[in-house]
């Protein structure tokens, strides 16, 4: 079986998940007790809006028809229209794409930059002081609230030593980069303990393996062993671990955006809650689930590209 076959197979595997997501997002609104329109709009319920929402939900029609219509709209790229500013939800979400994309990428890159060297450092001398220190990171790090990490970084690098902006996204690309540094670091600090725990174990396994002994026995240099024989296997392990934690990463991003007042998709959602803007909440929920599925798919494909065992199984 070649790589392309694997890609095809993996794509087919996502179909049921996509179906499940669409059902779940569709169902959320139907979980609402009582009259959805009233509940959804809360104090903002005006007859006009109640009518609009009832029309959007198609509450009076059979549930299957409602679902089919929902899917039909989806395929046309429509997630409904925002209550508060009458704009299409899809457009609103896509407008926030740069913020979300940069934050996600920045968070992932920084996480690997922190977790991978530390794991290698710890595993290369098992039981030594540096290993003990690295092993303490998950024990303490896993209990740190994401908002708290953010606030601490703001205090430290934004106010005490004002090196980075503490809020906003800036206007130019360099400004964007500076603005997303602290939020990305927050995500990285949040994710690193999880990554380190798995990566240290994988590294130990790699370093203890016979193929490293084989490489050492044939007398090639330590640098080559580390960068060719160890690192490639270590990166594969990182990609896998990262893939497992994408949902946590994306979810935390929503919170971190809020702490650093970055106008990304997460902020869009939280603002929508205050305004009881139901289409946005539904749209963003779906959007984030799709992001998770997509990133998961990507990590699997990268994994398969790096590790010849996967595609050929």
């Amino acid at each position: 079986m070649g790589y392309l076959t694997y890609v095809g197979k993996r794509l087919i595997q996502t179909l049921p998940v996509l179906f499940g997501i669409s059902v779940a997002v569709f169902t959320i609104v139907h979980l609402i007790p009582g009259d959805p329109a009233d509940v959804l709009l809360g104090q903002n319920a005006t007859p006009e809006r109640v009518k609009l929402i009832n029309h959007q939900l198609g509450i009076d029609r059979p549930i299957l028809i409602q679902y089919i219509n929902f899917i039909k709209d989806l395929f046309q790229g429509s997630l409904g229209t925002s209550f508060s500013n009458k704009e299409p939800v899809t457009k609103l979400i896509l407008g926030r794409l740069p913020e979300t994309g940069m934050l996600l990428t920045g968070g992932i890159i920084l996480s690997i930059l922190i977790a991978l060297p530390l794991s290698i450092l710890a595993a290369s001398k098992r039981g030594a002081m540096r290993d003990q220190l690295v092993r303490a990171i998950p024990i303490i790090g896993l209990g740190m609230p994401q908002v708290w990490i953010g606030v601490m970084l703001i205090l430290l690098f934004g106010l005490k030593f004002p090196l980075f902006p503490v809020s906003g996204f800036g206007d130019t690309f360099p400004e964007h980069l500076r603005s997303i540094f602290l939020p990305s670091l927050t995500i990285a600090i949040l994710l690193s303990p999880i990554l380190i725990r798995s990566l240290r174990a994988s590294m130990l396994e790699i370093l203890d393996s016979d193929y490293i002994l084989t490489a050492r026995a044939k007398g090639i240099s330590q640098t080559r062993i580390t960068f060719v024989h160890v690192l490639r296997n270590a990166v594969i392990a990182s990609v896998t671990v990262l893939g497992i934690n994408v949902a946590y990463l994306v979810g935390s991003m929503v919170i971190v955006e809020r702490v650093f007042v970055i106008p990304g998709t997460g902020s869009l959602m939280i603002d929508a809650i205050a305004r009881r803007d139901y289409p946005i909440v539904q749209g963003v929920t779906l959007y984030f689930a799709l992001v998770v599925v997509l990133v998961n798919l990507l990590t699997d494909l990268i994994h398969a590209a790096l590790d010849p065992r996967v595609a050929l199984k």
Binding site: Y211, L213, T214, R216, G219, N233, L306, L312
Partner: protein, 335 residues
């Protein structure tokens, strides 16, 4: 007499475990010359693999050489600078392992793994090293080298993997091949093929072999000399012929009895009762004494040295009586 290729003097290895420090190797000395073929046999945990790894500097993190000297071509390797040591070691000896799939890097093609030393240590060009690798692949008896070059380890069968591992070990053109139970994980027929390959390499290119195993039949097949290991020491050492016909240590005697005799029509399953001593505690007396049929109270108080006796060396106070064991055995049977 010329300097031996490898000379090991009184090697001791300690392993850190949860239950404290383990004296895995307790003073082992031996020489290896080019063209030698030595079998090291013993139960699991006796220290045979650790000995090989210690000599090649491949000990795991929790183990270290606590005393003793290792000379490669007369040079004390502990005194050599890192890079020089690595070169000397790999030019002298290569190593293959029990589990070939674990010994091959899963994400690098077998061709590149074989070509790595020629390319990155011997300074050959990309196409030269490829040619070298192709030659090695053919040398270890894999047909169709061109098309196999770009395969990954998991795409090969167990026997082919072990051949690839041998090719990798040979890529640094060592004079001796250290074999750590390389056939244990293989089917009997594949096992025979790999052994035949090793024999051919020995015959055709004078490759020396140190073969660690618990399988006496394998030693009989490909080795000239045998060293029997027990509780981190050699307890008997001699030529295969004389040792198999006339063991001078009770442990060797029991091992030979335990091995199924391929010629016998009736396979008698025999095992040595008792357990090997716990090496995290100091050894008092002969470590084999509690399991020995020939021992007496003296054996429980002091540990015998490896001494010359008749045709071989043996670490046993009773080895001068070795002729009587077989005789008494035929009456009462070894227990």
């Amino acid at each position: 007499m010329s300097t031996p290729l490898i000379s090991v003097e009184n090697l001791c290895v300690e392993i850190k475990t949860n239950r404290g420090l383990l004296q895995a190797i307790r003073g082992v000395s031996f020489d290896i010359d080019s063209g030698d073929s030595i079998g090291i046999v013993g139960e699991s945990g006796s220290g045979k693999s650790i000995t090989l790894k210690a000599v090649l500097g491949l000990l795991p993190n929790n183990a270290h050489v606590s005393s003793g000297k290792i000379y490669f071509a007369g040079q004390d390797i502990a005194k050599l600078e890192k890079k020089a040591r690595r070169a000397l070691l790999s030019e002298t000896a290569g190593m293959i392992f029990q589990d070939a799939i674990a010994a091959l890097n899963p994400v690098i093609t077998i061709g590149n793994q074989i070509a790595e030393v020629p390319r990155y240590r011997l300074g050959q060009s990309a196409s030269q090293s490829r040619q070298t690798a192709l030659k090695l692949i053919e040398q270890v008896g894999i047909s169709d080298a061109e098309s196999r070059f770009d395969l990954y380890p998991h795409q090969l069968s167990g026997g082919l993997r072990q051949r690839v591992a041998i090719a990798i070990a040979l890529s640094a053109s060592p004079k001796i091949l250290f074999c750590d139970e390389p056939t244990t994980a293989l089917d009997v027929t594949i096992q025979a093929q790999v052994l035949r390959l090793l024999l051919e390499l020995r015959r055709n290119s004078g490759l020396g072999i140190v073969f660690v195993t618990h399988d006496l039949a394998v030693v009989n097949e490909i080795c000239d000399e045998i060293k029997v290991m027990y509780a981190g020491r050699f307890v008997e050492s001699g030529t295969v012929d004389s040792t198999f016909n006339n063991p001078t240590h009770p442990y060797t005697y029991s091992l030979l009895k335990a091995a199924p005799d391929p010629d016998a029509s009736v396979h008698r399953l025999f095992s040595i009762s008792g357990e090997a001593p716990n090496l995290s505690e100091p050894v008092v007396g002969c470590p084999f004494a509690p399991r020995c049929f020939a021992g007496d109270t003296h054996c429980l108080t002091s540990e015998p040295e490896l001494l010359k006796i008749a045709h071989s060396e043996s670490a046993c106070f009773k080895s001068k009586d070795h002729d009587k064991w077989a005789a008494s055995d035929s009456k009462s049977g070894v227990k």
